[in-house]
Symmetry: D2
Subunit: 346 residues, 4 copies
Amino acid sequence: MNKIKVGIIGATGYAGAELVRLLKQRDDVEIVGLGSRSYARTPFSNEYGALRDYEDGECCGEDMLEMSKNCDVIFTATPQGFCASQVTEEILSKCKIIDLSADFRITDPEIYEQWYKIHHPCPEFIKEAVYGLPEINRDKIKNARLIANPGCYPTCSFLSIYPLLKAGYIDPNTIIIDAKSGTSGAGRGAKTASLFCEVNESIKAYSVAAHRHVPEIEEQLSNIAGRDIRISFTPHLMPMQRGILVTAYASLAKSVTVEELHAAYEACYKDEHFVRVLPYGMPTETRWVRGSNLADVSCKLDERTNRVIMMGAIDNMVKGAAGQAIQNMNLMFGCPENKGIDQLPV
Amino acid sequence: MNKIKVGIIGATGYAGAELVRLLKQRDDVEIVGLGSRSYARTPFSNEYGALRDYEDGECCGEDMLEMSKNCDVIFTATPQGFCASQVTEEILSKCKIIDLSADFRITDPEIYEQWYKIHHPCPEFIKEAVYGLPEINRDKIKNARLIANPGCYPTCSFLSIYPLLKAGYIDPNTIIIDAKSGTSGAGRGAKTASLFCEVNESIKAYSVAAHRHVPEIEEQLSNIAGRDIRISFTPHLMPMQRGILVTAYASLAKSVTVEELHAAYEACYKDEHFVRVLPYGMPTETRWVRGSNLADVSCKLDERTNRVIMMGAIDNMVKGAAGQAIQNMNLMFGCPENKGIDQLPV
Amino acid sequence: MNKIKVGIIGATGYAGAELVRLLKQRDDVEIVGLGSRSYARTPFSNEYGALRDYEDGECCGEDMLEMSKNCDVIFTATPQGFCASQVTEEILSKCKIIDLSADFRITDPEIYEQWYKIHHPCPEFIKEAVYGLPEINRDKIKNARLIANPGCYPTCSFLSIYPLLKAGYIDPNTIIIDAKSGTSGAGRGAKTASLFCEVNESIKAYSVAAHRHVPEIEEQLSNIAGRDIRISFTPHLMPMQRGILVTAYASLAKSVTVEELHAAYEACYKDEHFVRVLPYGMPTETRWVRGSNLADVSCKLDERTNRVIMMGAIDNMVKGAAGQAIQNMNLMFGCPENKGIDQLPV
Amino acid sequence: MNKIKVGIIGATGYAGAELVRLLKQRDDVEIVGLGSRSYARTPFSNEYGALRDYEDGECCGEDMLEMSKNCDVIFTATPQGFCASQVTEEILSKCKIIDLSADFRITDPEIYEQWYKIHHPCPEFIKEAVYGLPEINRDKIKNARLIANPGCYPTCSFLSIYPLLKAGYIDPNTIIIDAKSGTSGAGRGAKTASLFCEVNESIKAYSVAAHRHVPEIEEQLSNIAGRDIRISFTPHLMPMQRGILVTAYASLAKSVTVEELHAAYEACYKDEHFVRVLPYGMPTETRWVRGSNLADVSCKLDERTNRVIMMGAIDNMVKGAAGQAIQNMNLMFGCPENKGIDQLPV
């Protein structure tokens, strides 16, 4: 059997290293390049002692064209703008790209530029790119050359809200998403705000009414609703490493029983390997998905206010990044969808 | 100078111990009784080594009448139902009571019984009791015999929302409160769910659409709005010890500028020693109030959805419990309101 | 292929649940019984939401004889005294036992009784039992009916010190072990001392000069040294969930170079799949083994004092408990030794 | 009353900010300068929201001569080498200096240069400087112009070992110190190794047999023993913010009872306001001193090995840095020694 030859650019960031961890446990994958701007020519295991004796190769630079010559697929776990600045038809003709940044998630380049303050250098590829959420785009992913791997908050928000929106049970104008993320979401950059002593024993909201994941969530929910939706979205920083919790609110659009609410979730996810619908009303907890590619979802009706609370939990590094990227790779290369990402939560 | 003689019932719980810590640093207060059901006849400092050499006295039982004979004021940091089951006219004629439980917070005993599942044995005292939030009831507190010390979530929720509700800027029907609390809020009871290994590195919502602080928040907000309000309220458990963060959402009731929003906060709190209005749009953080009696509040307008996000942070053990109780005591005994609770955040 | 039929007694404790997590990921193992004193007749996934949809079976009671009728092997992850009180020749003739408690770790029942304050009901099985540390007893384990799975501290302490003691480089009379453990080591019992608010943001020593793992460590080290050794051992409680770190000190017994020190580790562990010898002088870190069955070890010479510092790190729940137990099971059933416990650190 | 005019250089580091926090709560102190290399011309409360409304002044640069013109005392909470590079006779003739760095702690400049790899520019001031540990140098501190404020590890190590060494009960050649520190000890520099996701849920030793506090501890212990002592010292990084725990080992030098061991501690510290001797054998815990200037100490005899385990706990930011510096200031300015640093542990 030929192994899938994989390159990872941004390998020493948290999402990149998670890709390494998960892919090193497969016998059908060979990691042929670990690109890192900050740690080129340093052994990978210097930065990630967890991989000592498993991945002691040196990191290389971040030249996508060069890397594409030896790869079947390249993951880019890089800051916004990197992938769009490097990808070309030449590269895509040889090698599939799974981009973990936001470069190809937003259909309208103007909206991308407005929220990300970056000029998009190759809008022609946006159209080609497939939004890599298997639960809604499984078939398109299989044949894609370029995957826009979803953001962590959008993945968790969408999976939590999707069933009730699709069923027409909630008023799209009333959606409010209060989200909480572990600190790995802030990345491995050496910023004062991410120091242990600044983060531990404290919580805060950030990017209030201004977070870059807003247009991505809105676009995906609008696709389901069949019309433009605007949401309120507030992310919070949590004193933990991994995990995203979404608590979303919406007013009911019609009279509906709790059984119907729950049934909407079951209907959407009954065949999904990685989405677990919890019993009606049971809150999701990030610990129950930690280290796994699972998404837990549930809902509860607040009968006094006629609002429904939709809840979701994922590991932001796995289903919110590296795990979902591998799920996409599996679909693109004809592997079983859960291959190598079936670890149970730790 | 005569010292204020203080009794604390429930002294070995987290709120009770916080009362001890704060009151032991005053030279005008004498602690004459430390009531504890679980640790009667044990030295207090056995349970709280922080107080070794400062408070080594033995705990006594929880007989309020007995304790009232030697006290000017008794704090009850006890489970719901305890204070109401013990307080009598005889006690109140000798000794003031500051109850940190919910027994006297809800005006309507039927609502109390409905949410707390406890029959209220002395509704006649509910009428007399003053809701001990100095920012709105300062004058009444001064002359009260019986204080219903506010809940932690209600304190933080109310202070965050009050200015905009009072100004008529927000639609009372649209208020959603997403609150997050440190684990000390769960108390010192030996429950599996509060173990380090269950709480750390995880977050979850709990008591969704069913938390007992709902009617307390609604009553206080209704008083301001001049009509009955129903809110959605979702508390979350955080992997930290102290601190409550409130992120509240409401739709604007009228067109209003961000300057007007901010000015509403300034107007309410400009003379308040313990409430800090942060610059417009700056998120509150629990670490900046930790260990102090301060409440930080701020707001931000989401212009795309016409909603305002109201933010607040307190230390649930101080402004949310023991500190506010002492603030009430200071008012009742003619001390400077900030006496003994003016520590800066650690 | 016939699956190995496994029973787990004490399945809802932390070590028991770790067994479930690891064994559920194997296709050659069938869990046929989950014994739990506290949660009998409750679905396992009620307590461990991580396993929802994977292990929703109900727990049963803790009758070893009954369970042995359907099992090839039973793991007892139970308090001291349980396994010894239940095991019989009848059981052992049908079913192998891997005991994660200390009941069969100490050869001399008098020493067991002295440290554990429990009368040993079946000293005849102590002689038969094999101390389940594959790195020294691999061959004996393969044929054993009864395994005494090593303690977490002893595993990490022994693997750290073993190479230098075996090489005769250190003076056995000078060994001091300063050990630090995550809170999962304290178990899932609802004790006040294990609450999040008691453990977080604090560290302490405990059981100073009196911890029950002392005789176990001494016996194993004495076997290597060929004479009786007495050690000083101080465990500490850490504000983290998983992981044990050992920092051990000993004076050199002879003049030796740092290369020789390092070579002693390499010599012992060059063929060991689960022991990684770090570069000379590099401190071990618990995060690099978290969630894995790996043990990292290293040493550094303090030339100014002629002492050597020996360092080790394991995950107390995996190599220190469930993972090592499965490693033993693999040996006993002829599976590859690393089967199902080869996950990379998270 | 004239206020003490204080300047703080390095005010935005953790120790500097702790000085600000503690000194802002005094009415006899005026902070006239907040020097910060990184945040000059930024409001202090931008970095430390805890001080908002209390200290909103802008930081200035780090010119000690300039600052000394308006100050009675300057605290330097700066990296090694800064204070020694700036202090002059001109400055000291006007203004007292309390240096929280190591520049003047080591009597022999050669040893300083060997461990710190910095040439010492003004060895003439080393002789004048007083080692600011009030428990042994109280009288000298009162008249000093230049204080070498002790290191955090040395403070905790010394106070733990001092009584038994002074009493001649332990063999000075056998002292081993295993120390554990919260992450604030690593400072506020934006280093990858101090990020939340690198520190949380992990522990490690660092600077094994090579930490810069070794010569400082050795010098102070040698002074007590009356001869040169060499110790083994291993610091560890802990996933918590504040606190140092010392577990020290030594062999008994003579036959001694546990009562005598305990009495040695009582004899040394019976008049010390900030040192608490715990009951014999009771382990110290960092939480019981957190946020306070207290040091807790205790010991336990390991009769099986004839070694004594000496234990100590301090808050590294208070007794280990800012609190002790203020204790020194109090002595130098004739204030009560505990003024402004008498907060009880939080």
